[in-house]
Symmetry: C3
Subunit: 132 residues, 3 copies
């Protein structure tokens, strides 16, 4: 069944490096070659792959996303979080990673991030492993 769920507690806006959890899921699956899909079941939080080293990259990405998709008095959605919906779709609801010989084929600087745009909340994400 190769399906795993993880929970996390989030801040108002932040990216959370979940790579170690995804590695754990792939190890548990015993699938050595294939792909895995990391999925956010939320509409104001997404998944992206980006730099795992300098935390200023995440800081700058949050700033850049807020400038690309600023809040606006013209938005009509009553919850007032349309900018978070935009950012979630801009990053995407999932990331797909290749598995080879039991390992995630990420680049040396890549980490898998859960992207919170409308916290703080208790969130979850899913990892599905598909063998070839």
């Amino acid at each position: 069944m190769s399906l795993y769920e993880y929970k996390l507690q989030t801040a108002p806006q932040n990216f959370y490096n979940v790579t170690s959890k995804v590695k754990e899921a792939v190890a548990k699956s015993n699938i050595k070659n294939g792909i895995c899909v990391v999925f956010s079941p939320h509409t104001t939080a997404g998944i992206t792959i980006n730099e795992n080293a300098d935390p200023d990259v995440v800081r700058d990405m949050l700033l850049g996303l807020s400038r690309a998709y600023p809040d606006s008095k013209d938005f009509m959605h009553a919850e007032g979080n349309s900018t978070a919906h935009l950012k979630a779709s801009a990053m995407g609801s999932s990331a797909t990673v290749i598995i080879n010989d039991g390992k995630l084929l990420l680049g040396i600087w890549q980490g898998i991030y859960f992207c919170e745009f409308d916290g703080p909340r208790t969130r979850r994400f899913l990892v599905k492993v598909i063998g070839e």
Copy 2:
């Protein structure tokens, strides 16, 4: 062969909730566990997953995307729809959803949207179901 195609008629710009069609494809496939890929074979229309409840979310997302990727007299593409190409890539050409026990593992507020940025047109999208 687990491959399904659907057609739709679009407005100049809008998001179309195609979740029920994707559910239908998964049911027809008889695949109970795996993933499905929803794919737009167009370059000015994409696929995204976002809120299925308040139609103002889609309205606000279309507005926010038009502000992030405004039309410009500096664009040189002769068809004049470069902003639609940008929005299509911003949303992405596909979405991947996990299937568990015959059901799409979407969050309660999530719907799968076909995103038209350069209609009105007759469009189509593909659903491919992959078992584990």
Copy 3:
């Protein structure tokens, strides 16, 4: 094992049409029906699917992305390429394409692009083919 790697030399910023390489990988895999995942193992280069005909579309997309995610003196990442990180996540680290009867089910105007935002560099991308 259906996994293939390709290298390319890039300019400072450009999109490279890698569709023929992906087709080659799918042909080598001998997999006739399924999906393939095209993955960039970099954090300042992504993958997207967009128009394969008029080169002005790529030109306009690079311009539009630079306006959506402009460089800023407020960015703190020491390498000074935060805008490239943003653009890479905006396009995404991978694209998934359906394979049917040995062929990529791309639309007639679609090509698969490796998107360089921080070159010139020697880059690589991966193609993983998954049968149904």
